[in-house]
């Protein structure tokens, strides 16, 4: 059914306009990150493009340079304060370690369970799937308060001994992401016909060999897509990180510390926020094809 030309053009304009509305906050945020402080705080008018771009916000948050030194170099007098408080390199490192670790743990645990749930018939299989799904329904706050006490006793709140803080956060992120990873992987395993493993086992392969040599390589794409989603959810998580850790600050928690009693450091907030969004943007574009399946825990396929 071909639409008339003028309707098509009208639709194109509407589609671009709507997409632009959704892109606007991101663009505004990126713009704010390269504005000098005076342009952010202008009370007389909204500054769009008429400012001298500066990378000072990135230099302070990502490279750990001293703001007062940079401000004097660039002749900006405003906002002279401690530099360490805004140096976010450690927070970025914490976030990277925790997110990668959580992704590794989640996927390692989920792939095996998903294979068994896809391939083997056993009593309580449906109940087990419901238990997994139940984790997705559980609001994190329900287990958070006891977890603080448990973590404190087990040394999982901070990095005082054996990087316990990293481990603690990784494990709870693994639990929160388990339903997505497991059910998504199960749906990918379900897509591989059972004849494939049966043929391998008739040829003398054990269950383990048919899994690791035959079926797992066939769902590589699914493993990658699930891992990316788990990484993004770990990277963006806020509540658990805020409550559970002391010395570790992931990026979403760190950025909140730029809100100070003397005013919010919008330039630094925007710079770190933009920098934190970029890895997720790249990853999400890589897994576009499996995104809907992932977000609906494998129940809708594109």
């Amino acid at each position: 059914m071909e639409q008339p030309r003028h309707l098509r053009i009208l639709r194109d304009i509407a589609a671009v306009f709507v997409t632009f509305i959704f892109m606007f906050p991101i663009l505004w945020w990126a713009l704010t990150s390269i504005k000098p402080i005076s342009a952010v705080f202008d009370k007389d008018r909204v500054v769009f493009f008429d400012f001298v771009p500066t990378l000072i916000n990135y230099a302070v948050t990502l490279l750990g340079l001293s703001r007062s030194g940079l401000a004097i170099d660039q002749g900006i007098g405003m906002g002279v304060g401690g530099a360490e408080a805004y140096d976010s390199r450690h927070a970025i490192l914490d976030s990277v370690i925790v997110s990668i670790g959580a992704t590794a743990v989640t996927m390692a645990v989920a792939v095996f369970a998903a294979y068994a749930l896809s391939r083997m018939a056993f009593n309580g299989r449906a109940a087990y799937l419901n238990w997994v799904l139940g984790q997705r329904f559980m609001p994190p706050i329900a287990i958070l308060i006891p977890l603080v006490t448990i973590y404190k006793d087990a040394g999982l709140r901070d990095n005082d001994s054996l990087y316990g803080g990293y481990l603690g956060l990784m494990m709870i992120y693994a639990l929160m992401n388990l339903p997505i990873a497991l059910l998504l992987m199960k749906s990918f395993f379900d897509d591989v016909p059972k004849d494939v493993d049966e043929a391998a086992m008739i040829d003398g392969a054990t269950r383990w060999q048919s899994f690791s040599k035959v079926v797992l390589p066939m769902v590589r794409g699914g493993v990658a897509a699930s891992a990316v989603l788990v990484f993004i959810f770990s990277w963006t998580e806020f509540l658990l990180s805020l409550f559970l850790t002391t010395s570790i600050r992931t990026v979403p928690v760190k950025i909140q510390t730029f809100v100070t009693s003397t005013g919010n450091e919008w330039g630094f907030i925007a710079a770190l926020g933009t920098a934190a969004a970029i890895p997720s943007f790249i990853f999400i574009l890589l897994v576009q094809r499996h995104l809907v399946r992932g977000l609906t825990l494998g129940s809708l396929k594109e």
């Binding site: 059914m1 671009v16 997409t19 959704f22 892109m23 906050p25 991101i26 505004w28 945020w29 909204v46 645990v109 095996f112 369970a113 294979y115 068994a116 299989r125 087990y128 238990w131 997994v132 799904l133 984790q135 997705r136 329904f137 559980m138 609001p139 706050i141 329900a142 287990i143 958070l144 308060i145 006891p146 006490t149 448990i150 709870i172 059910l183 054990t206 269950r207 899994f211 963006t236 998580e237 509540l239 990026v251 979403p252 909140q256 919008w266 907030i269 925007a270 926020g273 934190a276 997720s280 943007f281 990853f283 999400i284 574009l285 977000l295 609906t296 825990l297 129940s299 809708l300 396929k301």
Partner: protein, 286 residues
């Protein structure tokens, strides 16, 4: 062979769910049955203390009301916008693929960062959105949207709707693309209008997809925390306090772990109850 048995395959996942999920949950239930002495800070078994305190606590009802308003308003807006935008972007013509890809970007920004973005844009004196609204004359100059009890919830919802409408768009698009072609061709031959096609064909055939989207979004909305914590810190007063943020305030405030756990468990019970009824009523399964 040992690998023939499901047990070893399920062991790691089971261990994770027992140690980090089930054990803290049982602990939370145990905590909710304890009373924390205000002075000695010792716990004593008092099974009904927190639960009866909860029933008489006006802030719980306020937080529950806010959670329901937040969940309901966000679901409604995201569903309508999501469906409308999905219909708009569902085209095979050049460039639409790029628009659809761009539409997914808001989803992956850390919600705590999104909250900061809107905190800046809604600032009454220099925020671009607030200035825009003020310029239309709807609000007086310098008006603080997030600092005023009557508008704070709307401000928080703006961030929520911006970030998660794309989720609905994606799911609706997937639903639209999986529809069979024949009924639509038949309707076109019969001369059905676009409105008729949408309400008589598209919507009923999409009902399963819509139900799944509502269920997943609903359970996430009910635990609302990030935006209210960052944008208004549950305020002004308790105007945007949700169940999760109230439990968090008690936890950080007077450290009454038993009572905070009780409120958290109430949230869990409500999520399970509502989603169970929803799944039965709409015959939907995840």
């Amino acid at each position: 062979m040992i690998s023939e048995h499901p047990f070893p395959w399920l062991l790691p996942a089971s261990a994770l769910m027992v140690i980090f999920g089930l054990y803290p949950l049982l602990y939370a239930i145990w905590l909710s049955l304890q009373r924390k002495h205000p002075v000695t800070r010792k716990l004593a078994f008092a099974p009904t203390y927190n639960w009866s305190k909860l029933l008489g606590d006006e802030r719980v009802w306020n937080a529950l009301g806010n959670t329901l308003v937040y969940t309901g308003a966000a679901l409604f807006l995201q569903l309508i916008l999501g469906m409308a935008i999905a219909l708009l972007l569902d085209s095979d013509r050049k460039g639409y693929g790029l628009l659809r890809a761009m539409m997914t970007l808001p989803l992956v920004i850390p919600p705590a960062v999104t909250a900061m973005m809107f905190l800046l844009m809604l600032n009454g004196s220099f925020g671009v959105l607030a200035r825009g609204i003020i310029a239309t004359g709807l609000l007086p100059p310098g008006f603080s949207i997030l600092g005023t009890a009557s508008t704070a919830m709307a401000g928080v919802l703006l961030a929520e709707v911006w970030q998660w409408t794309p989720f609905m768009v994606l799911i609706m698009l997937a639903g639209l693309r999986s529809l069979p072609k024949e009924p639509f061709e038949a309707a076109a031959i019969d001369g059905a209008t676009a409105t008729q096609v949408f309400f008589k064909l598209t919507l009923p055939m999409m009902s399963k997809v819509i139900a799944i989207a509502v269920l997943i979004r609903g359970i996430d909305l009910f635990r609302a925390f990030d935006y209210v914590k960052v944008m208004t810190d549950s305020g002004p007063g308790t105007a945007t306090e949700t169940l999760t943020s109230y439990a968090g305030r008690i936890y950080f405030g007077n450290a009454d772990f038993p009572y905070a756990s009780t409120i958290a468990l109430l949230t869990l019970i409500l999520v399970i109850l509502v989603s169970f009824v929803f799944m039965k009523a709409c015959k939907v399964k995840l």
